[in-house]
């Protein structure tokens, strides 16, 4: 009778295998070109939750795509990387770069029906930058005249925002700032209804009111959000959907189950294995696409701690990382990177020759650093083992294992220290605490300065909370970055950041290694959607063609299950 537990184990294993080897369902709906048609509801889901919907305080991955539906901004980025007006009908920058004037579109209305005026633009930004508002990034706007006085509470008005008429607003900057349009694309600068008040009030998050293409109908912490079309949106005729359902904190497996059953129309959070399955399946060809990476990852080397205080050691490390080998990991989600600015951010220069894998150059650099290493005997190199810190349960840790093997070939021996994310962040941003470790940066806004200034400028070095994890200081780079932020001419600006890329490549405070992208899939009846290079999950302007569709998104809790059909439904006739 001993065979019974074994039989039970085998039965369970068979069950598990059956679950794992299941085939994908076919896409729902016909794939053809059809003209935009009004109506329908799209249902999407996020793995992450939502802390707040108040644009003044919520600045995270979960809130961003929803806020772009709720709150129209003065300007936004087009697919080809140009700034275009959303609420602004037109905008201009003065020759000296210190004054920006925006003319608002006539007819743009808030969700409460009130027209969007220049005074609303001023009030809303003052609200976000108010002393009492826990805005996570007010310093993005610190070049508006009078910012410090207003933000510290010394004055009641942000003098740098001037109302020229009901429909014209002007921003006066204390210094020219080439990043200013980019930071105006962030939801925290979006105008909010008068009910938002002139300073932060926590309850606004539960009844957010803006001028975006959709307005909030319902928000349950546990069931997600429902948004309805806003007919007073600044660009009438661009919005086709009646509503958007957004489920929150849905595990990846459940998202896939829902998507295959037709309960989700678009799948953004795919596991690596599921992404590969969709790409392999010929029925799903044309129904999925990669997003464009907006992050740069790699490893930092603390330039104030041995052995990375030696330039040649840093260069050796940068040359020892085989970036192409990373592309084989994670089913194509990892994209090799050799420069600071990722492809999804303005200023990315595809022709720039970045850091490259060159084992011989790496060994030569170690020799020049006085640490010759013999790969045949394994002797030489840096004598001690160095702790490499990385966040646990992340791809950073997998990359760390790769780096550990590759750096061992040039005589740098690493011991991996996996830490919880907050502890890791505290460790690498404290002076003298971490010699080498995982590093990464995701675009806050679309500008090269968003990467270079926090990561490599001397002014970002602090004993605590340093964002310059390499504690790297270079007066030439500092001067370049100052010029870059103020330079308005695109060509000259491009040359400045190309030079900055060269300095980082050659001085190697980081070994730049990879970016990360996702694979998104959508049902056959979803039209007009492709991943936006500068905004994730940009679902506001697509349309649905449900001719011949055998299913569509249903109520999130019910999914058309058998038991559901037997039980009474609220609102059912």
């Amino acid at each position: 009778m001993r065979s019974i537990p074994r039989a039970a184990s085998l039965a369970a294993a068979a069950l598990l295998c059956a679950a794992c080897s299941s085939e994908l369902a076919a896409p729902i709906g016909r794939r053809d070109d059809s003209p935009p048609a009004r109506g329908g509801t799209i249902t999407v889901a996020s793995f992450v939750g939502l802390r707040s919907l108040d644009p003044a305080v919520a600045f995270d991955e979960g809130a961003d795509p929803i806020q772009r539906l709720l709150f129209a901004r003065l300007v936004r980025l087009s697919r080809d990387g140009r700034f275009e007006g959303e609420l602004a009908e037109s905008f201009e920058t003065s020759a000296d770069g210190r004054h920006l004037r925006f003319r608002l579109r006539p007819g743009a209305r808030f969700h409460d029906g009130a027209p969007v005026t220049a005074a609303d633009v001023k009030r809303s930004l003052e609200r976000a930058l108010h002393k009492r508002t826990p805005c996570p990034a007010p310093s993005f706007y610190d070049r508006i005249e009078g910012f410090e006085a207003f933000h510290s509470g010394a004055t009641h008005e942000l003098t740098g925002i001037r109302i020229e008429s009901d429909s014209v607003v002007r921003f006066d900057l204390s210094q020219p700032d080439a990043t200013f349009l980019a930071v105006l694309t962030l939801p925290m600068a979006a105008p909010v209804c008068a009910s938002g008040g002139s300073s932060y009030e926590p309850s606004f998050s539960s009844r957010p009111c803006g001028a975006g293409p959709f307005k909030l109908r319902q928000w349950d912490d546990h069931e997600g959000l429902t948004l309805g079309r806003h007919d007073g949106y600044a660009e009438p005729g661009r919005v086709w959907l009646d509503s958007v359902r957004w489920l929150l904190e849905v595990p990846l497996t459940t998202q896939r189950f829902r998507f295959e059953r037709g309960d989700l129309d678009l799948l953004h959070d795919l596991s690596v294995a599921d992404g590969a399955a969709f790409r392999r399946d010929p029925r799903w060809r044309g129904q999925g696409e990669w997003t464009v990476p907006r992050m740069t990852k790699g490893l930092f080397m603390n330039s104030r701690m041995a052995p990375f205080d030696r330039l040649e050691v840093r260069r050796a490390v940068a040359a020892a990382i085989d970036r192409d080998s990373l592309a084989r990991l994670r089913g194509g989600c990892v994209v090799p990177a050799d420069r600071v600015i990722p492809p999804g951010v303005l200023g990315h220069d595809p022709d720039f020759p970045g850091q490259r894998f060159d084992p011989q150059l790496a060994l030569d650099s170690m020799r020049r650093a006085g640490l010759p290493f013999d790969p045949a005997t394994g002797l030489g190199g840096w004598p001690d083992t160095i702790d490499y810190v990385a966040p646990a349960d992340s791809f950073d840790l997998q990359f760390a294992e790769v780096a550990q093997q590759q750096l061992a070939r040039i005589g740098i021996r690493l011991r991996l220290k996996a830490m919880a994310w907050p502890a890791y962040l505290a460790r690498i941003s404290r002076a003298g605490q971490a010699r080498i470790g995982a590093a990464g940066w995701t675009a806050d806004f679309d500008d090269p300065s968003d990467f270079f200034e926090p990561l490599f400028a001397s002014k970002s070095i602090q004993d605590e909370d340093s964002q310059n994890y390499a504690f790297y200081s270079n007066p030439e780079l500092d001067a370049l970055l100052e010029r870059g932020r103020a330079e308005l001419d695109p060509l000259r600006r491009r040359a400045i950041y190309r030079k900055a890329e060269e300095i980082v490549r050659d001085e190697a405070p980081w070994a730049l290694a990879y970016g990360y992208r996702r694979f998104e899939v959508w049902q056959g009846y979803v039209r007009g959607y492709r991943p936006h290079p500068h905004a994730q999950l940009d679902v506001g302007f697509l349309w649905l063609d449900r001719r011949d569709s055998r299913g569509s998104a249903r109520s999130p809790a019910w999914n058309g299950n058998v038991l559901a059909s037997l039980l009474p439904r609220r609102g059912a006739p």
Binding site: A137, F257, P422, L425
Partner: protein, 340 residues
């Protein structure tokens, strides 16, 4: 009796204070910054500083500690004015206010967050424990009465599998077959109506139930086997009592005594939240809230959940003591003697 109750209450208060103090100290000793967690990993240091000041995290540890306990239970107006700056995070019970502070991340009163979620966690805990006890005890009794037979081996094998399978595997399998393939149940969520809540409850309760029932079945089987060999059972048999009476009224009654302790402890633990199961099935209870709070360094929420969990464990222990007294006549007579 009153003295015993007073001592019990006092010792419970000391336990609560000790647990809260330890949590407070551990939370502050962690090498990470709650203000950074609020502002985001890429927030500029100046912005993080402002958030730190706003949250009161720039004050000394002692000041924060005293402020927490001073605010925890205090007196205030019985009716709160809207947007009252001094009592915005309070839950008033008449003039007595419970104040667990505002969540750093969700920017809502912690007491309100917990009050929303505790009933859902309690529902899941009670459903899961009921399932565990009913299925586990029945399987254990059956196995004990058929010792060495096919049924016994079958129960042992299945319970071994149930105990060895982590909930994130059993939950996923149940979800795959019952919800995705056979469409019998909702995949996850909480629902909006009572019927929906009930349907959504089945899978998470079943997931927790599989594990617990397996454990209880083995536990009851072993206890029953011990009891069935006792002299009083032999005497009962010799007296010609019906087998089911011997089994249920005599052996089982003694066998469940240790089970009551285990059930009480399990119930207390489940009331603190079943983290994996709640996350997997998007069950909006305390487990999901607590794991998020710990990851995001949301101190007030962590303290609030620890307080609730401590109180539920204390309450379930008290319940176990009362049940013991109800089940075991020896305890009742001992208590009667000591109170004389």
């Amino acid at each position: 009796m009153i003295r015993r109750a007073a001592l019990r209450l006092l010792s419970s208060l000391v336990v609560v204070w000790l647990v809260l103090t330890t949590t407070f100290l551990i939370h502050h000793a962690l090498p990470s910054d709650p203000a950074r967690a609020v502002a985001g990993p890429q927030a500029r240091p100046a912005d993080v500083d402002r958030i730190r000041q706003r949250l009161g995290l720039d004050r000394s540890l002692a000041t924060q500690y005293v402020a927490f306990f001073r605010r925890l239970v205090h007196f205030g107006p019985s009716q709160l004015a809207p947007k009252d700056p001094d009592h915005g995070s309070c839950s008033p019970l008449g003039r007595v206010h419970l104040d667990l502070g505002m969540s750093f991340q969700k920017r809502k009163p912690v007491a309100k967050l917990i009050a929303e979620r505790l009933p859902r966690t309690a529902l899941l805990a009670v459903a899961a424990v009921s399932l565990q006890v009913l299925v586990g005890a029945a399987a254990g009794i059956l196995a004990a009465t058929r010792r060495g037979k096919l049924l016994d081996h079958g129960v042992i094998g299945l319970t071994l599998l149930g105990v060895s399978t982590p909930t994130f595997i059993s939950g996923l399998l149940l979800q795959y077959w019952l919800a995705y393939r056979w469409k019998l149940l909702p995949l996850d969520g909480w629902g909006r109506t009572t019927a929906e809540h009930a349907a959504c409850l089945v899978l998470p309760a079943l997931t927790l139930g599989v594990f617990g029932a397996s454990y209880y079945a083995r536990f009851v089987r072993d206890e029953m086997l011990v009891q069935l060999q006792q002299d009083y059972v032999r005497t009962a048999r010799a007296k010609g009592l019906q087998p089911w009476r011997i089994l249920v009224l005599h052996a089982l009654r003694n066998a469940v005594m240790p089970l009551v302790t285990v059930v009480g402890m399990d119930l207390g633990a489940l009331l603190g939240g079943a983290i994996v199961t709640e996350k997997l099935f998007r069950w909006p209870g305390l487990g999901a809230l607590s794991v998020d709070a710990v990851i995001e360094r949301d101190g007030p929420v962590v303290m609030g959940i620890v307080l609730v969990t401590t109180l539920t464990v204390i309450a379930s222990n008290l319940l176990v003591d009362l049940l013991y007294a109800a089940i075991d006549p020896r305890l009742r007579s001992r208590q009667a003697l000591s109170s004389r």
